[in-house]
Amino acid sequence: MTPLLKVENISKYYGNRLGCRNVSFDLYPGEVLGIVGESGSGKSTLLNCLAGHQEPDTGEVIFDTRVDGPKDTITMPEPERRMLSRTDWAFVHQNPRDGLRMSVSAGGNVGERLMAVGERHYGNIRSVALDWLDKVEISEDRVDDRPSEFSGGMQQRLQIARNLVTAPRLIFMDEPTGGLDVSVQARLLDLLRGLVRELGLSAVVVTHDLAVVRLLADRLMVMKDGHVVETGLTDQVLDDPQHAYTQLLVSSVLQV
């Protein structure tokens, strides 16, 4: 089986300061990879390099494209990469404001990607948008409301719908449940898990919340100071951590 995403030796420096260094991993179809680490560990830098938001100094991010098979997304022409990022890729930002158009209705937000790939039938766009709002548990009568009128949890669900409407195969998530109430987090996690399984999505999830990765991720990568210090099955890394830092991280979680 060909990995959907093959990451090799990604390094990124900000001047002399290290962002992340020599990160490599494979992600297979249907897999969810969690990346954990504290603030400044390089996990967001890594995610941005993978998703094409930042250019890494070294390394390759090889994506198994639908038409041409595996291709390095870092050296591919920008139009092609941007096309990927609005069709086969999705990116869920921690702050829904970064991933939504706040002045555009919920329906318009969901429909944008469809229009971006050439859909020109209003009726079709609207029915797909309504369908997706239903999938993310936003009631139909909110379709013409702006996200600024939504709660944080609803905004985040809308962002997910907006991203998944073109049936991407890979979804990048940056602290998808950060900043949400615990009760809202649970609902979102449940939704994400369901979508990942039903749509066969692969995902890379960056978070500092170990409970989130335990429920969402199959595999886990622990980062510290720009380096990957440990990788493995999520439950194995959390229950039998090998690296000193991971042990510290796991033992520092407050028990409820």
Partner: protein
């Protein structure tokens, strides 16, 4: 089906003066299809540790743990995930699920994961929940709101939903009343009849005697203090 050879395991606590705690040495165990083996030994002897090593939840330093044709010790994470999905079931003492997911979906999940359609998965889930006496009015609720005994039974229903060829049972009959205990034991008998290789931990001597073909005292695998 499950074949453990010369397996050793120790924990290194980096944040506590890097103390190394050996917990298992040269463990050997072989369980064939349709057999059930009970692990015995005092608390802390390493029964749960061994189970977790077989499940890939704990890393194993040396030796081989073959489940079917997969060596858990050296397998890639994705191979272990496939093994857990198709071959190796695990009923732990604790229920770990996403909040808010209905009991019916929690129990159906292992079946959905192996590609059973939703309707048939729910049918099987309903059958198991009925057998284990979970009242129907609770099926649409999240099991996280249930009592300890109910959670345990939901966990068992989930563990037996898919007919795994190999199973690990960590005190499946603890905190159950007599009737439910009987049900669980009959589920184990059924699994054995289907050819499942089972390793179990039972504190309940009678239960162990009823379903286990033989017993292994894990304290023989415990490294002696130097």
């Amino acid at each position: 089906m499950i074949n453990i050879e010369n397996v050793s395991k120790s924990f290194t606590l980096h944040n506590q003066n890097s103390v190394v705690i050996p917990v298992m040495k040269n463990a050997n165990l072989k369980v064939g299809a349709g057999e059930c083996v009970g692990l015995t030994g005092s608390s802390g002897a390493g029964k749960s540790t061994l189970m977790r090593m077989i499940y890939g939840n704990y890393l194993t330093q040396s030796g081989r743990i073959m489940v079917g044709d997969v060596n858990v010790v050296t397998a890639l994470p994705r191979e272990i995930l496939n093994l857990r999905r198709d071959t190796l079931g695990y009923v732990s003492q604790f229920l770990r699920v996403v909040p808010r997911v209905s009991t019916l979906d929690v129990v159906s999940e292992p079946l959905l994961a192996v590609g059973v359609d939703r309707e048939r998965a729910h049918e099987r889930a309903r059958l198991l929940l009925t057998k284990l006496r979970i009242p129907e009015r609770l099926w649409t609720l999240s099991p996280l709101t249930f009592s300890g005994g109910e959670q345990q039974r939901v966990n068992i229903a989930r563990g037996f939903a898919h007919e795994y060829p190999a199973m690990l049972l960590d005190e499946p009959t603890a905190s159950l009343d007599a009737a439910n205990r009987e049900t669980v034991l009959s589920l184990i008998e059924d699994a054995k009849a289907h050819g499942a290789a089972i390793i179990g931990i039972f504190h309940d001597d009678a239960a162990r005697a009823q379903v286990c073909d033989w017993e292994v005292d894990v304290s023989v695998f415990t490294p002696k203090a130097a």
